[in-house]
């Protein structure tokens, strides 16, 4: 049982990491950012590239984050910002198009096969009673915690973070109060994309594989998590990520194949939304 809980926490924290970026983008721009999954995959590829050349995990994480920040910023500047005044569904379709394009680009550049991402850490695994925690799992927990704590500090303890909060509440009023919206949006995409990059590298290490289609499941499953947490709420998203990760692991371990793993998140989401249409942690609509 405890073993399943540990596995659930690992999966859940990876989900939370990807979904936090998504919820941040939604919080400011009100766009369902499907191409976030493309940023996530490019993070994994960049990380692998840097790691094979330098054999340094820290450098891989940092460079992946930097590269993806630039990628995310480009998406924001040249695709989303010009479409902000259009109907909501238009940027969504543009995002889907970009995701299709990127997935094919990864296949052409990285090859259609699975590449291994093998990282050796200085210990192999920890054993508490019957529960095994591998070094990779420790790395994921530490990485996730570090990312989430730094997001917390950036948003709650810096001036730009305060501006971010104001913009998330009401963009027009924030603008009227003299907040530099452009700066906030840039900040938002840089943070969201670098977290996605780190999530990409960590996921690749966890499964020891990088492949072009690794983003296609997160692309939509993350929405279930983000919505469950109440679109735009960061703590809600983290909680929802952990809950879904846990529920998936425990259900498929103990009840077998009643339904495929990927349907659990959506079933939970629909059930909860019918009773709480604003998500678990969302404020009223």
């Amino acid at each position: 049982m405890l073993q399943q809980v540990v596995n659930g926490i690992i999966i859940g924290s990876l989900y939370a990491l990807i979904a936090v970026g998504l919820t941040m983008v939604y919080g400011i721009l009100r766009i369902l950012h499907i191409a976030h999954a493309a940023v996530f995959v490019s993070g994994a590829y960049l990380g692998l590239l840097v790691y094979t050349y330098t054999q340094s995990l820290i450098l891989a994480l940092i460079l992946a984050a930097v590269g993806c920040s630039i990628f995310g910023w480009l998406i924001q500047r040249f695709l989303y910002t010009p479409l902000l005044t259009e109907a909501r569904i238009v940027p969504l379709i543009a995002s889907v198009g970009l995701f299709i394009l990127c997935e094919d680009l990864f296949r052409l550049l990285g090859g259609p096969y699975i590449r291994a991402f093998k990282v050796d850490l200085w210990f192999d695994k920890l054993i508490f009673f019957d529960t095994v925690v591998t070094a990779h799992q420790c790395l994921i927990v530490i990485g996730t915690a570090a990312c989430l704590v730094s997001v917390y500090f950036l948003i709650n303890r810096t001036k730009l973070g305060l501006a971010w909060q104001a913009t998330a509440q009401d963009m027009d009023t924030a603008k009227a109060m003299g907040i530099n919206i452009k700066q906030v949006i840039n900040f938002n995409f840089i943070i969201a994309s670098s977290i996605a990059a780190i999530a990409g590298v960590l996921t690749a290490i966890n499964y020891n594989s990088v492949l072009p289609t690794m983003g296609s499941v997160p692309a939509y499953k993350m929405f279930a998590i983000v919505v469950l947490g109440g679109l735009g709420s960061i703590p809600g998203t983290i909680a929802a990520g952990l809950i879904i990760g846990m529920a998936e692991t425990i259900m498929s371990a103990y009840f077998g194949f009643i339904m495929p793993r990927d349907a659990i998140a959506f079933s939970a989401m629909i059930l909860i939304l019918i009773f709480r249409p604003q998500g678990l942690f969302g404020k009223g609509v």
């Binding site: 939604y26 009100r30 369902l32 040249f78 695709l79 010009p82 479409l83 259009e86 109907a87 909501r88 569904i89 238009v90 940027p91 969504l92 379709i93 543009a94 889907v96 198009g97 970009l98 995701f99 299709i100 394009l101 990127c102 997935e103 094919d104 680009l105 052409l108 939509y220 929405f223 279930a224 983000v226 919505v227 679109l231 194949f257 009643i258 339904m259 495929p260 990927d262 349907a263 959506f266 079933s267 989401m269 629909i270 939304l273 019918i274 249409p277 604003q278 998500g279 609509v285």
Partner: protein, 306 residues
């Protein structure tokens, strides 16, 4: 390129036009984003397949039955949409698509992951109709669907849906029963998606849960948005263009998806209201100004001088 190949492509294009037009009733007219339209496409296909195979219905009887069932389930989603709104609804419909595909995939009644095989080709006067006549049949239903959409857009329902799309609170405040009209929009849209499903099932004669997954929904939405939602010509031309595009891109072989994705990005970025929508570049070039202005000018010229 043989004639048979063209007939097949034509049939698929026709089915996609019906699907896109039906989604347009929900998203274009009523303004409710649905990202799970393929589920209703699937419900139509499965209902008709099961009715003809297990209950002994003929194609002509199964067709309206499947439409009614898809419409009823669609009305259910309409009821959900009363409570869950906007982007929450968009994501919920993704979920509905997944759950329905899961039901098809994991229950033996629906044939499981292998789907349903040996669906009959429709018979007319005791004779199997040929592929070419099937294409004509699909074309006939495309015309019916388009005409139905035209009637809606000109009727009170169309006006009510447009009001809900523009401002739901204002519509409610001015005494419009938003709940009723939203459910009607979902029921109608999903019933016609069911029609698309019936035509698909009896053409392919073999359906699997894989044919109705989330990417199919996204394709339908993309066709609608690229064409220009809210109009009738937009979804038709959008579906025509985007269903034919993969065939036209065939010479690019390995780079097909790259171009397909790139074109979606390019078209939404530079023609966000759709290639054939209200303020589209192409329409402006053809008519000198946008269509509505052209028509109102003509009406003014024909009418009395004020």
């Amino acid at each position: 390129m043989g004639l048979g190949y063209l007939t097949t492509i034509g049939t698929f294009v026709g089915i996609y036009i019906i699907l896109t037009l039906s989604l347009n009733i929900i998203s274009g007219y009523a303004g409710q984003i649905s990202l799970g339209h393929a589920a209703f496409f699937g419900i139509g296909a499965y209902t008709s397949a099961l009715l003809t195979l297990k209950a002994g219905f003929s194609f002509w009887l199964a067709l309206p039955a499947a439409m009614i069932i898809a419409g009823f389930i669609g009305a259910g989603v309409g009821i959900i949409s009363l409570r869950i709104k906007g982007d929450f609804l968009a994501v919920t419909t993704i979920g509905i698509n997944f759950v329905i595909v899961t039901v098809f995939e994991y229950s033996d009644f629906f044939g499981g992951a292998y789907g349903i095989m040996g669906i009959q080709y429709p018979m007319l006067f005791g004779l199997k109709i040929s592929k070419f006549y099937y294409l004509m049949l699909v074309f006939f239903f495309v015309v019916v669907t388009a005409f139905f959409c035209f009637l809606i857009s000109k009727s009170w329902i169309g006006l009510a849906l447009e009001t809900i799309r523009e401002d739901e609170d204002a519509a409610e405040a001015s005494g419009l029963n938003c709940a009723k009209f939203k459910i009607i929009a979902f029921a109608m849209g999903c019933a016609f998606a069911g029609l698309g499903g019936v035509l698909y099932a009896h053409f392919m004669r073999f359906i699997t849960p894989n044919d109705f997954t989330f990417p199919v929904s996204i394709t339908i939405v993309a066709m609608m948005v690229v064409g220009g939602m809210g109009t009738i010509r937009g979804p038709i031309l959008g579906a025509l263009l985007m269903a034919a595009l993969p065939e036209l891109l065939r010479p690019l072989a390995n780079y097909r998806l790259l171009f397909y994705g790139g074109l979606i990005v390019f078209m939404t970025r530079f023609q966000p209201q759709g290639l054939f929508g209200e303020n589209a570049f192409i329409i402006k070039k053809l008519f000198g100004q946008n269509l509505r202005a052209a028509f109102s000018k003509r009406n003014r010229a024909g009418g009395e001088e004020i």
